[in-house]
Subunit: 219 residues, 2 copies
């Protein structure tokens, strides 16, 4: 791997583990066993590293959000899609942990993060409209708008909230729990013929949780 990529990868791991504000470029160089001068040759400071990480995060997130086609309602496909979304957020969780602080200190990120927030809302908007059109979802328009906001809120802060609550859950389960939470928000608005959908999701979640916790106990 190129030094430049290794710097980005190491920075991301340190930011996630210790919080971006607590990590200096010297910490990053030390962790990689390179000189601060070598690091400086690639990035002119932490701002450039954070900016680069954010751009990658943002670019990939846009692609993920644009991917789904809500052509049918299949709990496995929906679960997988949401898992990818939350896993992506989890991989860059340092951005979300102190988002207000980061947005204050990096004005470029401020603008981009707000744009991403609206992109999340747009994705929820498009998916819900398609589900309504296909007769899968039934919801009055003013409630649909609040539902999309609630989904965007959950996409932004659920992992944070969940980590405030309990700090000892395997990461994989943390992400599945987030997916299940979104399913629980959407389920009450599905058409009657999809009454079984939520029970399917609940079963999926229980099986996944049992499996992951078993694996964690064994390791």
């Amino acid at each position: 791997m190129k030094t430049r990529d290794r710097i980005l990868q190491t920075s991301l791991a340190l930011f996630n583990a210790e919080g971006e504000a607590n990590v200096t470029t010297v910490d990053i160089a030390n962790e990689m066993d390179i000189s601060p001068g070598n690091l400086y040759y690639h990035f002119k400071g932490k701002e450039e590293i954070v900016g680069n990480l954010f751009n990658t995060f943002d670019h990939e997130f846009q692609q993920i959000l644009d991917a789904p086609a809500a052509g049918s309602l299949n709990s496995e496909d929906a679960w997988f899609y949401l898992y990818v979304v939350f896993e992506h957020i989890f991989n860059y969780r340092f951005l979300y942990r102190n988002i207000n602080d980061i947005m204050e200190r990096y004005s470029g990120i401020n603008r981009q993060f707000r744009r991403l927030l609206f992109h999340k809302l747009d994705a929820a908007d498009a998916i819900s409209k398609e589900l309504i059109e296909k007769g899968i979802m039934v919801i009055p328009e003013n409630q649909r708008i609040r539902l999309c906001e609630n989904i965007a809120l959950n996409l932004t802060f659920w992992l944070n909230y969940d980590q405030l609550r309990r700090q000892d859950m395997p990461n994989e389960l943390l992400i599945h729990q987030a997916v299940f939470q979104i399913m629980s928000i959407v389920a009450p608005h599905l058409a009657e013929e999809f009454n079984g959908f939520y029970q399917e999701c609940a079963t999926t979640y229980e099986e996944l949780a049992a499996h992951i916790l078993q694996k964690a106990r064994e390791s």
Copy 2:
């Protein structure tokens, strides 16, 4: 007003306006036009000030959360209760803006904030159970648990989320919007005879918003 109380009041205002991390005890003394020594006579540093503010916040919040009796479902009473809850959070919004950062730096607050989170969950739990018992709410048990989590998430992060999205709303409207958001989350689970409840809430919100925006334009 006593100097001690003025210090706390000034600190709260500065923390809310500029973020707790960006305010020093010297800033607080300067703002009040007193000497740092005078401030130090009352508080041995910022940690003691933050701790005091958090204790007041926490104590009052516990009292607010314990207050409601969900004996009947009256949209005006429910609206008023939730307004008081969100107004309280708004008054101490500095705590929520960088909660992970504050919890890291103040270990005492970490424990108390987590306890408060569980208190929010307990309040949602008690109210939802009472509404079910009275036949006002109809919801399967596994969905009820997710609903309570969603309410606690909204109580913790909605104001943050909403401020990320738009930064120019009158404070009063910001709080009413939060109340309406909670109503929108609960409404789909009300018994059929309460179908009108959500429309009442929507009308209340529209009237309040029109009134507040009118007032803002005039001033």
